[in-house]
């Protein structure tokens, strides 16, 4: 950390830059980490398992038909420039998000029109949904509230202030922007008298945080060892083992929600044959997947991650069983193997590549050849958006955006075709129907039953090899306190708000 006259500044070493900070345009782990720090939302996820906590909204209620939601805002909240956070600011922010139709818009746009948001009074805002939408609440923590006055002041040609908000902020969060050197470092400074106070105490709170871009894992590790960075993310599994032995360094190791699947193209090519898919699923050495992470992962026992609501383990999840694999292969169109299947992964994703190697090794037993093909992410997504170009096997990591089971289940809905996580082009009308029902159901018990059935059916159809849930890991100095894990955040993403330096 760095000492300044205002106090200690925490240094976070990360690999990913923040090109656009605007909360309604982009989100990824690094961007959202800073958004979360400079903006507030109506609600906030906290804890493990993640829970929705009131934030700008102190209380809320929903109508019996599940279509109307009313939120009562706190009266303390102030934007950084001193303006109060009003119902109008909330309305404007949601309207902005929906109208821009970027970033977070997809979460609500099918159920909420800009006209459906209304200001009841200064501190009460009402949402009228087009249809009941059970996961509605679970998305709200990602909708940050901007200060309409400031944004409008910087509007150019009716762009809703997009250009300005790219590297400026108009929020009410615990931090405000400091130095902003794209691709180098991003500094945020703690706000004096943050309306919600500081959990670590005003005395302990840091003066700010520097998010420093360090691209090379080796350099990250070096920076941590030298104390130039207080916390880093994205080290290799082997690095964590090494660095654990260094005195003064603590490893955070938590079970995450990111699922890994080898998605088959179920519509076209050899993998349209369910027997081949099953054969592959039974040939894979699942233990090796864990070994790739040096044990810091757990196998998936359902399409849903364990930490998600409605998760039920599926009993006959395939595990390595060569006899069974050969049995299935015999039933397929390729009883003796002898075919080559591509395995596509995102270029540069080490673990995906290694899993490819495991797959290659394992499928030799079935006389199936695997061609490991790394692709740029945009190309992979482009290819995966059409049945014709989607490869036979693609490795995909998916992090659900909320703890609501719909976030994962909907990936298996036919409407998701074209999205990268739906590269298997899974088509089971019964499953799609159940997903729709579960979305609209207002009672949790009804939904839970549906999701249990959905999980079983998906595993039976084997549209993908269900892999593992990797652990979320960070390495930080022991004087860094207040680290709070929440599985709903992205890999690497940290809640900077409660952290502080315990200076000796």
């Amino acid at each position: 950390f760095e000492r300044t006259d205002k106090g200690n500044v925490i240094v976070f070493g990360g690999r990913q830059a923040i090109p656009v900070l605007d909360p309604h345009i982009r989100y990824d782990w690094s961007t959202r980490m800073i958004q979360q720090s400079v903006y507030d939302a109506l609600l906030k996820y906290e804890g493990d398992p993640a829970e929705l906590k009131p934030w700008l909204a102190e209380t809320w209620e929903t109508s019996a038909d599940g279509k109307t939601w009313t939120f009562h805002l706190t009266k303390d909240a102030k934007f950084h420039n001193g303006d109060p956070v009003t119902a109008e600011a909330v309305r404007y922010s949601f309207e902005r998000g929906l109208k821009l139709n970027k970033g977070v818009a997809w979460m609500l746009k099918d159920f909420l029109a800009p006209e459906g948001i209304s200001v009841v009074d200064d501190h009460t805002v009402k949402f009228d949904l087009k249809a009941p939408y059970a996961p509605f609440l679970s998305f709200l923590p990602w909708w940050y509230i901007v200060n309409p006055a400031e944004v409008k002041a910087h509007e150019v040609d009716g762009d809703y202030g997009q250009k300005w908000l790219t590297d400026h902020a108009a929020g009410s969060g615990p931090f405000k922007l400091g130095r902003w050197e794209p691709n180098v470092l991003y500094e945020i400074e703690a706000v004096d008298n943050y309306w919600k106070g500081w959990p670590q105490g005003e005395k302990n709170r840091p003066a700010g945080v520097i998010f420093k871009i360090i691209r090379e894992p080796a350099a990250q590790k070096a920076a941590l060892q030298r104390g130039e960075a207080d916390i880093v993310e994205g080290l290799t599994p082997d690095d964590y083992i090494q660095i654990k032995r260094v005195p003064g360094i603590v490893i955070q190791d938590h079970k995450g929600m990111t699922t890994f699947g080898i998605k088959f193209n179920t519509q076209k090519g050899p993998t349209a044959d369910i027997n081949l898919r099953k054969a592959i699923a039974y040939a894979l050495d699942y233990d090796a997947l864990i070994q790739v992470y040096n044990g810091a992962a757990t196998l998936e026992t359902s399409p849903l991650p364990d930490a998600m609501k409605g998760y039920t383990p599926v009993l006959d999840m395939p595990r390595k069983d060569l006899a069974k694999a050969k049995e299935y292969l015999a039933k397929s169109a390729y009883p003796n193997g002898g075919l080559t299947l591509p395995y596509v992964h995102v270029a540069g994703l080490e673990e995906a590549r290694r899993i490819g190697l495991v797959l290659l090794d394992n499928l030799k037993a079935l006389n199936i050849n695997v061609e490991i093909k790394p692709e740029q992410w945009p190309n992979m997504v482009a290819n995966g958006s059409k049945v014709e170009t989607s490869p036979a096997m693609t490795s995909v990591f998916t992090t659900p955006i909320s703890t609501d089971p719909d976030a994962v289940a909907y990936q298996y809905h036919k409407n998701s075709w074209g999205q990268y996580y739906a590269m298997m082009f899974y088509d089971n009308p019964k499953v799609s129907e159940m997903i729709d029902q579960a979305r609209a159901a207002t009672s949790w018990d009804d939904r839970a039953k549906l999701y249990a059935e959905i999980q079983k059916q998906i595993v039976a159809d084997q549209p993908e090899v269900f892999g593992m849930l990797q652990n979320r890991r960070w390495a930080h100095r022991d004087y860094l306190q207040g680290f709070q894990f929440s599985p709903v955040r992205f890999t690497g993403e940290v809640d900077l708000y409660p952290m502080w330096i315990k200076a000796e």
């Binding site: 894992p217 080796a218 290799t236 270029a347 540069g348 080490e350 290694r354 190697l357 090794d361 093909k373």
Partner: protein, 307 residues
């Protein structure tokens, strides 16, 4: 220079091979002599021969042939160099020694194809531009300058980024950016050779342009081309490895040194052997080809011949 005079009587009998090729033999002996004199040239030749041998006999030299194809052995991962694994093992437990040996083949192929394609495109264009002059020259040289104005690596990066990573695209991209160097070299050379009297002499006896290009211009451009190709072998290998390092070149499990380093760099201080050996292999190969090229230039380039 004195010329051996032979009596008429001796000349009437058929000449032996030795006698007929005395000049060539002398020439080669001179080359060999000059080459041997230079320590660095010999070092270069030695290195190149070693790597050529590795490429040729690699499959029989590898202790763990499966390692080259991406076999895994998670129990033995990241073992330091030792008796069983001379260069240690990588993060999947593959034998690095075997992979480095296989990498020689990949790398030499890459170098050969890139320089080969580049020369095949560049040399004819250069000869035409240098000899013909006029608008063909203007067009060819403009395009060449265009390519030369952007450093090859940057352009190759753009091409591979567009085509997608992988060894084929990487080779394609590098070949596409490599040929202009040959055009410029050959053009300059052809331009000066064209002014030589023997070209005019050939024209005066009625030789057609293709004849002149093939029999007079090309052979006289050959030594700088050979020298450049030798140097470029090394540079092409290095560039391909650089793309591999950025993550746009050859991709594992293909045993390519640059890609190996790209993975290995994250294991750098603690598992030093992982990146050390492929790095050293690149270094030594490129060094070998460059020293060889340098040595060849010393003996082939007429400017330094009369020493």
């Amino acid at each position: 220079m004195t010329t051996p005079m032979t009596s008429e009587a001796e000349l009437s009998r058929p000449l032996s091979f030795r006698e007929r090729h005395e000049s060539q033999i002398r020439q080669w002996r001179l080359y060999a002599h000059m080459f041997r004199k230079s320590f660095s040239s010999m070092l270069g030749l030695g290195l190149v021969v070693v790597f050529l041998a590795l490429a040729a006999f690699g499959p029989w030299l590898m202790p763990y042939p499966e390692a080259a194809g991406g076999a895994i052995d998670m129990a033995n991962k990241l073992m330091p160099p030792g008796g069983a694994h001379w260069f240690g093992t990588d993060e999947m437990g593959a034998d690095i020694f075997s992979r480095v040996i296989m990498g020689a083949r990949t790398s030499l192929w890459i170098g050969l194809i890139i320089t080969g394609i580049a020369a095949l495109i560049g040399v004819p264009l250069g000869i035409v531009a240098g000899y013909r002059g006029g608008w063909p020259r203007a067009v060819i040289m403009r395009v060449t300058e265009l390519f030369l104005a952007v450093p090859g690596l940057a352009l190759a990066l753009a091409i591979v980024a567009a085509l997608g990573p992988g060894i084929t695209n990487c080779v394609l991209a590098l070949s596409l950016v490599w040929w202009p160097g040959y055009v410029r070299l050959v053009e300059a050379k052809a331009l000066s050779v064209k002014e030589e009297l023997f070209v005019e002499s050939a024209r005066s006896i009625g030789a057609k342009t293709p004849w002149i290009l093939w029999h007079h211009i090309l052979p006289n451009c050959l030594s700088p081309i050979i020298v450049k190709m030798s140097m470029d072998m090394g540079m092409a290998i290095l560039s391909a490895a650089s793309l591999g390092f950025i993550g746009l070149g050859a991709q594992p499990p293909a045993p390519e040194w640059g890609a190996m380093i790209s993975v290995a760099r994250t294991y750098m201080p603690d598992w030093w052997w992982y990146s050390l050996f492929p790095g050293a292999a690149i270094f030594l190969t490129v060094l070998g080809f460059n020293l060889l090229g340098d040595g060849l230039r010393d003996i082939l380039d007429p400017r330094s011949r009369d020493r």
